[in-house]
Structures are given as C-alpha cells and as structure tokens.
Symmetry: C2
Subunit: 475 residues, 2 copies
Amino acid sequence: MANKNITSRDVDFAKWYDNVVSSAKLSKYSNVKGCIILEPNGYAIWEKIQQNLDKMFKESGHKNVAMPLLIPESLMKKEGELIEGFAPEAAWVTMGGNKTLEERMCIRPTSETVFSDYFSGAISSYRDLPLKYNQWCSVLRWEKETRPFLRSREFWWQEGHTIHETASEAEKETQDMLDTYARFFRDYLAIPVIGGRKTDKEKFAGAEYTLSIEALMYNGVSLQSGTSHYFGQKFSKAYDIKFLNRNNELEYAYQTSWGVSSRMIGALIMVHGDDDGLILPPKIAPTQVRIVPIKVEENILSVAKEYYEKLKNAGISVELDDDDKTSAGFKFAESEVLGVPVRIEIGMRDLENGQITLSRRDTKEKIQVSKDCDIVAEIQALMNDIQNNLLQRATNRRDSMTYTATNLDEFAKIMNNTPGFIKADWCGNEECELKVKEIRGTKSRCILENEKMLTGKCVVCGRPARHLVLWGIQY
Amino acid sequence: MANKNITSRDVDFAKWYDNVVSSAKLSKYSNVKGCIILEPNGYAIWEKIQQNLDKMFKESGHKNVAMPLLIPESLMKKEGELIEGFAPEAAWVTMGGNKTLEERMCIRPTSETVFSDYFSGAISSYRDLPLKYNQWCSVLRWEKETRPFLRSREFWWQEGHTIHETASEAEKETQDMLDTYARFFRDYLAIPVIGGRKTDKEKFAGAEYTLSIEALMYNGVSLQSGTSHYFGQKFSKAYDIKFLNRNNELEYAYQTSWGVSSRMIGALIMVHGDDDGLILPPKIAPTQVRIVPIKVEENILSVAKEYYEKLKNAGISVELDDDDKTSAGFKFAESEVLGVPVRIEIGMRDLENGQITLSRRDTKEKIQVSKDCDIVAEIQALMNDIQNNLLQRATNRRDSMTYTATNLDEFAKIMNNTPGFIKADWCGNEECELKVKEIRGTKSRCILENEKMLTGKCVVCGRPARHLVLWGIQY
C-alpha cells in the first residue's frame, strides 16, 4: 500500500522527488525566487551530516573559521578564470545603508578569493605551513533552474581551503579529502561513489585540476556529489601568498579547496527512497527508532516507555509516538514517509504472546522478537544490517546500471533506453566531449585514472584514446 | 610579568581589548570594510557556545531550520516599524547574474519577515501550534563604527522565532528564553547578568516589548548581551498568520523572537581577561588543559603522554605542547594569552620529588600535586573551582560597580568618575531618558520590574516615578 500523496517513482521520477520532499517536510520554496527553506526535518539531516563530516575534518587536522559573506569586486577579479566562471551567477550588493557603494560586492558564490586574501597576510615561513581551514556556510549562485537540494540559488555547504609548502603535499591533500568524502558517502550515507579527475572542460574555474565523486540515482541520472580542487600556485600568485622556504627563498604556497553541500540530501532521497517516502540510513537518520503503540493504552504504553528509556540511555535516537488522536495506520505511514529506519510496534495480541514487532523501513520486513529480549542489542544489530543492506542494494543497482560502450551508436542506444553510467574510451579532445553531449546532454563525469581502457580507441572519433572516462546524464 | 604585546587594561582598555583579540588570534578585520574574520581560536569558542546553547534550545522543544539570506523589499515592508528600524542599516542586492533585479532584496539584518511569511503558510489549526524554530546564521547591518565581536557589519548569531495559540503562552516563551540566556551566561560563560524590560525607546522595532540581559564589563561599560521580544499579533496581522482556534474561529497567532550573538565572545574577553590575555571559563574553553613539559625529554614526555591519554579518555579537552623548538617560558605565555584554564607543568626536579605542578589561569596560583594523584579527579575539581571563582569574581566586581542615584548630580558624578551600572527611579518619559543620555551617552539598560523603587521620584525631573531602571554607558 503505497503512500497516496506520492507518485510512483517508476511513473514520474521528478514528481516522485517533489512529493517525497514535501511529504517528508524537508524543504519548501520561499518567496525569494529559487531560494529554499530547510524545514526542521530537512535541517535535522543536514545537522547529522555536519556533525559526522566535521569530526572527520577535525581528526585530519582541519580547523573551522568564518570568512565574510561579501567579496569586493576588485578582490574577486584578481584571479581571472574564477571571476569569469562565476560572474554570470553572482548576486551584487550595490547599496549599503541608504548609500550607493563606491565598489560593488558580490555575495560569496565560493570563497577562494577571501581565503587567499587572508592567507597572504597569515604566513611568513614554511614553519607556518600547512594551514588547513574549513567553513560551514551558505553560498549564492544565481541559477536559472532550481530544484530543492539539487540546485538552488542559496545552498548550504562546507568549503575547505588549505595552503602547503610543497606541490606534492597539496596534491596529497586534494586526494585525501576526496577519499574522505568517498568514505563518508559509503560509511554514513550508504551511497557508493566513483572518484576520478574532471576533464579540463568540466573542472573548476581557476583549478589546475578537479577531482570529483559521482553517484548514480535510482533513475539512472548521475549526481556530482563532491569536488576537491588542486590550485597549484595559481591563486597564491594572484593573491601574493608567499613564504620563506627551507632554502630561505620566497616561494608561493600550494593550495587546495574542496566542498560538499546540502545536495547530499537530494542524493539520499534519490538513491534510497521508495514509493512510501524517504529511507534514511541509520547512521544519518535524525530519528533512528520510532515506537508505535498499536493502541494508546496504559498497559501498552508502560512497555513502550520502558523500551524508550532503554534505547535513549544507550544513545540511540528514539521517539515514542503516543499521540492518542491518530490511528496506528497513520503513524506507520508517517514513520515510513520520514524514512525512520526501525519502527517498534507494540500491540495487545503481540504482548499476550510475549512478543513485539520490529519493522524495518528498507525491506518492509516485520520481525517478531521476544518482549523480554535485549532490545538495545536487537536494535543495534538491526540498524547495522539496514545500514549494510542499503549500501549493498545501492551498489548492486549502480553496478547493474553501469555499462560500457565502444562506439557512439551503442552509447546512444544505452542512454536513450536504459540510462546510467557508461564507461568509454576518450581521445581527450573537447570536440568529442561535445559530440557526446548531443546524446541527452550526457557529460563526462570523471576520468578513471586507475582503470584500463576498453579498446584504446575513442568512443566518438575512433582515434587513439588517452583515458577511460565515466559518462552520465547529470542533475 | 605581563605579556609585552598587551597594553595594560587599566592604562588603555580599548587598546588592551584589541591587543587581546589579536594576540589570542581570535579575529582579524577582513578587506571588506567593517567585516571581521573569525580565526580558528575565535571560531572554536563560538562552536562551544553553539553546542551548549543548541542543546538547551532542543531540550526545550525548539527545532533548527534555515531560512533564505535574501529578503525582497516588498516582504520586508509589510510590517512598518521593522523596515523603518532596519532600512538605514540594510545592504541591498540590486543585480543577480548580469541583470538588474525587478525588485531589490536586502541581506537579512534579522529574519522576522521571512519566518512570518513561512509561518503564514505552515499552520491552519491550533493543533499545529506552537511552532518553535531557531536558526544559526550570520546577519548583516551596515554599521558605521565597528569593533571585533562587539559591533561589526556581519556577525554570527542565533535567532529563535516562535508562534503560539495564546498571548500568555507566547509571553511565557519570551520570558523563558530570556531566563535560558541568563542561565547560559551564568553556568557556562561565568558572567552574571541582569534581566529586565527595555523602555519603549530602546525596544526592538516592531515588538510589543523587549526583554534583555545586561552584563557589566571590567571598565564599567555595559553590554546588551541578549534580547527576547514579544510581538503579540503585530507580525501575524501584517503577514497573515492565522489559525482556527478552539472555538473554530480564525485568530492571529502570537509571536516571539530572541537572539544572542558572537558578541558574547567580546563579553568573555572584557569580563574575565587580564593583562596576560584571555581567561576562559572551563565549560566554554575549546582547550581546557595544556600540558607543558619543562624540557622536551623522553623521561618527561612519557609522563606527559600518560596524563594526556588519561585526561583525553575522560572527555577533557587537552593538548600536549611537545614542540622542541620553543622554550617553556614561551609556552607558558602562549597558554596564558589563549586563556587555557589549567596548565600542567612537568619538570625534572618536580618529578624527582614525585610531584607535578598545576597552574590555574584565573589566579595564577601554582599547585603542587603528587605525580601519582588521580589526575582526572584533580583536574575536574580544579576546573570546577575555576568556573565558580570566575563567576564569583565577576559578580563581586559587578556588584561593587553597581550604584544607586536619586538625583542627576549624583548620577553624573558616578558616571564621570567610576562608571558602572546605576539603579535609579524614572518617571517613564522619554524626555528624561534623553536628559540622562547627555551624561556620557548613558542609556536605560532595562526596567527592573521585580525590584522596589528607591524614592518613588524620577532621578531627572523629580516627578512621581513609575519604574526602577538600570542605567549604563553602552557598547
């Protein structure tokens, strides 16, 4: 019995997505065109993401800071490629108080420029390096088309910015942070990702190169889920970030930046969700367990409260739905639409048989356990199982939707009928990349540097290939 | 031996403040006029504040959300008093992408308008109430004069916004949140505050009334440290926030908002700090204990590491300063300028005597304890003592600088010679408030509703008084 407020994802995926977002009360559009509101349920997921990622950042020696929201145009312009890339999307403040500003300022679309400006005054010697900073904030990009979480004018993210003594150390940081993202996606979001290098066409404006992780949604569309950029000395030359090196010579620092955003919530929805709503991996679910008394009566409630206390004291995030105005059926549907991983159902008949029912959100399976079981251990084991199952299920689906193609006909046939990831060889010319784009807008996702090429011939032009590339239709 | 980079606070308090901010590396001005950067040490304090306050908010049933940064002018204008109050300080976005916007938008100076707009679409019945929301974000006000933490164009804060079924419930929320702030200041920041109601002249634009907590700095200047506003139905009428009440009639909701900001870091500096730098209460210190080996030698280091592990495992935030390039004296000074509550000093001679030294930041006292003591218990007891001592010291100082005055001469003499808080009766007329302002800009801090008047005559005009008021020079 599917949720009547939710269109089936196999019928209309875009509508299904919007229905899940609104039924689970994650987000609403605001009266500011293209800007969303993160409602309590959406923000609670974002908080869980922040807590866990922030811990990983700190464990690897990163420190949080806060940089200004506004960037003067002259500061923005010091590095030419960046301003060129972001100018079409910038929002400009031209008045402060009741006066026209002498110089307009943009609301940060990203903060390389302000970090670089800060770094230039913060170091003098190699002993001051590395500086490994991060900030959690929102940024603004004047997008034309918007979808909640996937693309909105304002979005929430973290941006890491680091400077280093040597190129190799900075390059290692670039890779390390990509690996951190991939680990977070796997271990917390239960989403398998593929990491690689962006082509020159798709890299970040101003970067020497960009690494990305790419995930595949249920409908076969891919989502760029995180990026890590190596800048070399580009920004340090433009912003004068110099230090005395070990040979007592002035040298420009080597720089990185990396970010993931509230877009991850979109990925959670589209990788795990079903026709009943959201499905959240236990490790990222704001509520891990919801206890539903089939009838709100004292003898059932007293048992429910006992479980509630035990689970709460064990550090499990648990809610007791003891509202006596709504039916058990309504409560079941609600816990499902919200994606709560485990529901404990306590009914009179069950209790008489010395049992309770654990209902898992991922498989809808109902498991009878003894009323006197070690509830904490049961729930922990079940949550582990759900976490693993979600990753396995997403991996299997991703793998079954990952194809290879050795010529353009084959490529087009796949993308037109059963879209997903396609692995195909590429000669390295942008011309061929643009040719692929004619097929439903398919873009290169990333270069798979550690995998062997298929035939050694470009899937488009047939000339000698230089890379195996992952391709996909993108959000 | 005072820190040579820090001017004595008794010589030049303003300079002392700036010296502490920069020596402790809390904040720097950015290249955006009037906008500051929160550096790692400053941001770490902000994070501790956030964690603890956020927990208190959630325990009292509040939920976090995120609202848009931009507010269209028409939305801003729906409530007349608010726009009048904030228009002179607003920063306006007039261009998005490369186009002039049809309607300009301001960067939020505060978010009553966007919350109200959201609330109007979010409720239909009394069953949907209350909604108790909060957001952590930065806001922008185009201030002319700025000081790090005390007043800057961009600052970081939380803003709570709630709507309720009845006036009394909303008024209770207004008072409850003020009490929450007062408790947080007392129990975490070790700062005593005085709470009361703002005069009409000093209340928030658009509020029925404003409650505030007021703290006194070392130099006798007062700092408005948090505010809680009761709006009644003002915004709900302007923004159409209606619900069906228990009599099945449409009624406008009753509303509150409340906020505290990164200004609290300024209060921490100016209430507790001394000529050696910052002094942080243990409950809010990012680093609670720093271990300094007098010499970085293996036999000392091994003991240091043992303590480090024990304290860390007990959940105490501890650092081991094992840099072998700097002297113990340098390390001592650094831990002092950063305000680390406890330093553990481990020297060879001490060790031979079976001892180590605990050095407390608040009193500079050095305490010898047995090398084999229960270090976790010792440190916890010491931190408790420091936390209590800081509050006691600040309270004593505040009390000794709180005066009464029954006529304007007396009033002026105090403010000109030994400024602090002055309690004095007031008739309720703005004219008299303005008269007081002529004395070094002294303003009413708040009306002390639960205290008896002194003489029943206004300190300015001598006519019958209506309130006992707390007055002070303000930041």
